[in-house]
Symmetry: C2
Subunit: 215 residues, 2 copies
């Protein structure tokens, strides 16, 4: 019972700080998105693509177990409001890690994208104060990920199926994946993207812009 109590209080503490972050974002007009997906599904590449193509000001906070490689990539792609978090072994970003960054981030931005640690399991259980979560899948991972890792898809308003340019070369049942996503969330918005061809990004950008209007 002691263990249970402490677990509950860890989530409660995380939620409490997430609420403070949410207030900070709202007060500063920052619309924030928590990006969750496996290692290598293309989260950073999507943000690199957006650095050149999304016509709104945005910042990026990027969590990695080790290194600031990904944040450096975004800066090189032309977005100067990119901040790394090194979790030092931790499997997810917590709301307190975000809170620490709020003191240093540029607040004159419209959007803040938080790229979580590459992990389909743990990050989905921790609210960071974001406006919504987006789950990122990729074609080479295989088409059964929604069934095997359901929690993330219950909690995500949007799903990006990335590396769509590889669809013709792999045995991937995309209709089944979309169906599985809708079982968990009938209102989910699904985007099929490729940073190589630019496919799906106009729809993703429209979605972000519309969603921010109802902020």
């Amino acid at each position: 019972m002691v263990k249970k109590k402490i677990e509950i209080s860890a989530y409660a503490r995380n939620n409490q700080i997430a609420s403070q972050n949410r207030k900070f974002f709202y007060d500063n007009g920052i619309f924030s998105i928590n990006i969750i997906g496996s290692p290598g599904c293309g989260k950073t590449s999507i943000l690199e693509y957006m650095a050149s193509n999304f016509e709104h000001s945005f910042g990026v906070i990027i969590g990695d177990v080790k290194t600031a490689l990904d944040a450096d990539r975004i800066i090189r792609a032309g977005n100067n409001f990119s901040y790394p978090i090194e979790t030092g072994g931790g499997c997810h970003i917590s709301s307190s890690m975000i809170k620490d960054k709020l003191e240093v981030i540029e607040t004159d931005i419209e959007y803040l994208f938080i790229e979580n640690v590459g992990n389909l399991v743990c990050p989905s259980s921790f609210d960071l104060g974001e406006n919504f979560k987006v789950a990122v899948l990729s074609i080479p991972e295989g088409d059964e990920k929604v069934r095997k890792y359901p929690t993330l898809f219950l909690k995500s308003d949007a799903v990006i199926i990335n590396k769509i340019d590889l669809l013709d070369y792999m045995d991937y049942d995309i209709d089944r994946v979309e169906e599985d996503c809708r079982i968990h969330n009938p209102k989910v918005q699904i985007f099929k993207t490729s940073v190589k061809t630019g496919a799906g990004f106009p729809e993703w950008f429209d979605f972000l812009t519309n969603k921010r209007k109802h902020f």
Copy 2:
């Protein structure tokens, strides 16, 4: 401080049960391998390939957050000693989940492969009583995973770089990946495999056979 103590005791309890599992494996002549990698890197496909091509008796325990899809795949591939663990939200297999399976598994096998939950972070911190850990990477994930998720590579005796048939189609610096692996473990054995071509499997099978001799 209370939290710290409880964390330590959770690991200590896990290690204690892992030692009991290790004794069970040793007493029954079962050589066991803990397979860890991202979702979609090909852990189950490797075991499917082995079901047809590895000339030794083996069992498989497969952990998934949800579903028994992967264990079913191994059975369909011809290995009848395949047992699912559904972690129900958990991000790794614990030694006690393995212990529960020891009552039902076929003990007249030479090898037991434990396919962990698809996750590059959490599973590396939990000893299950295995003889060694193998980390599975795959070409489409990108070539910076060893740098970004170092713990697993500190603890793995072997690394499988899978989907090697895709190397020509992707920007992946395999020499750099091998170098990164050796920084963390100079003695690591690296295998470059493809279930489509069978590449790398003869070397992987030799390694398993030799390793079991010194069991």
